[in-house]
Subunit: 147 residues, 3 copies
């Protein structure tokens, strides 16, 4: 494994870290704006939606990163990066949609959930092919994987 | 590091991703069944137990994955996979036990906590042996590690 | 990539796992002390501060580990380890400061946030240099990276 076979996965992960930091800052501003001092997590609906939007994105962030790397290392860096960027874009829309209204979170949620499932599916394909090759000596996808 | 030295760790991670997705879907169904619309996170105890069961599993999921990989890469892939699968099984029981009653979460919690500690202990052993070997030139466990 | 190029990152990660386990035990003790049985997450302010301190540290733990490894693999293991240990120390102070008073969380929070930003900055530098070298053949920092 050479570093340049994963450096684009690292770049997308970094983008995700910055996005999470941005969501956190938004919660901190919302705590000030709506006067919701820690440890409180309830307040006006506007605050609660921003709070939950960040909490929800944080909850799924490790899941996203793990699937990004599994898909990228075991299947294809290029495809993982492609769907990974779309996922992060979907989460950006989710955060702002949710901040505006509960309804507003739904469309971007469906979109980012789809991207998440694609990453999981690519991980599955890659892992199954690697196991088949390592333990049965069978190259299922020939040189198709590791594009 | 060859891919087949970690592909079973990847498979267990993938299993964990699917388990987390399953828990999330359960929360979404519970939100519908008990009419708890986001951003609310309180409602009937039945809902709150399912909500907290998923939240608790999500909180520990990165901790689990990190210890799985440390144990598998620095100590033994086979042992990490073995205890990793038991951990995920324990979390499955935890989720359903908690969904039924607060009491019902305890026994599977103790079980999965034990599996988690084993993974942390294996990580510790592997890391200490690798440091000793790399920095002191001492092979503590001879070829015992990296089984 | 040899194991000894990352074993110190593994050691800091392990330290973080132990710290998170310690925070969790503190919440379990606080649940007993203040009689806050799951699934409840509200109670006396003393309980809520401990609960939120652990929740907040858990939320950022994956972000910390990802940035630790990106910084350590793509930039410098030694620097990542240095700032990583400071981050974990800051989180220890954060937890205990928050447990005592909401105000008490602020100073250590600013400190650990700074360490977190340093890790993200090192990751960014390392990733950009690796991309430049891999795709443009340009060695920006010469042998400065991978110290
Ligand atoms: N923790 C989530 C788990 C399930 C989930 O991701 N739900 C989606 C669709 S209902 C969501 O947008 N939840 C809003 C939220 O977490 O505040 C929840 O409480 O709902
Ligand atoms: N976030 C957890 C941290 C400690 C923990 O894991 N507690 C166990 C044993 S009391 C649990 O099952 N907690 C239930 C929950 O998180 O809802 C909590 O609030 O309790
Ligand atoms: N989940 C966090 C996101 C932002 C954050 O990290 N806030 C800092 C500064 S206000 C904090 O210490 N929050 C306390 C807490 O999470 O309980 C929150 O609700 O505040």
């Amino acid at each position: 494994m050479m570093l340049d076979q994963v450096v684009l996965l690292a770049a997308v992960t970094l983008l995700g870290l910055l996005e999470q930091a941005y969501f956190s800052l938004k919660v901190i501003y919302a705590r000030r704006k709506y006067s919701v001092s820690p440890p409180a997590i309830t307040g006006p609906p506007e605050f609660e939606r921003i709070f939950r939007a960040q909490a929800n994105c944080s909850e799924y962030f490790p899941i996203f990163v793990f699937s990004l790397w599994l898909a990228g290392v075991f299947f294809s860096q290029a495809l993982a990066v492609f769907f990974g960027i779309l996922y992060l874009y979907g989460r950006y829309l989710y955060f702002h949609g949710y901040a505006e209204s509960s309804q507003g979170r739904l469309e971007p949620l469906y979109f980012s959930a789809k991207m998440q499932w694609v990453l999981i599916a690519l991980s599955g394909l890659g892992v199954i092919c690697t196991i088949t090759q390592a333990y049965l000596g069978l190259d299922l996808l020939l040189s198709f994987t590791h594009v």
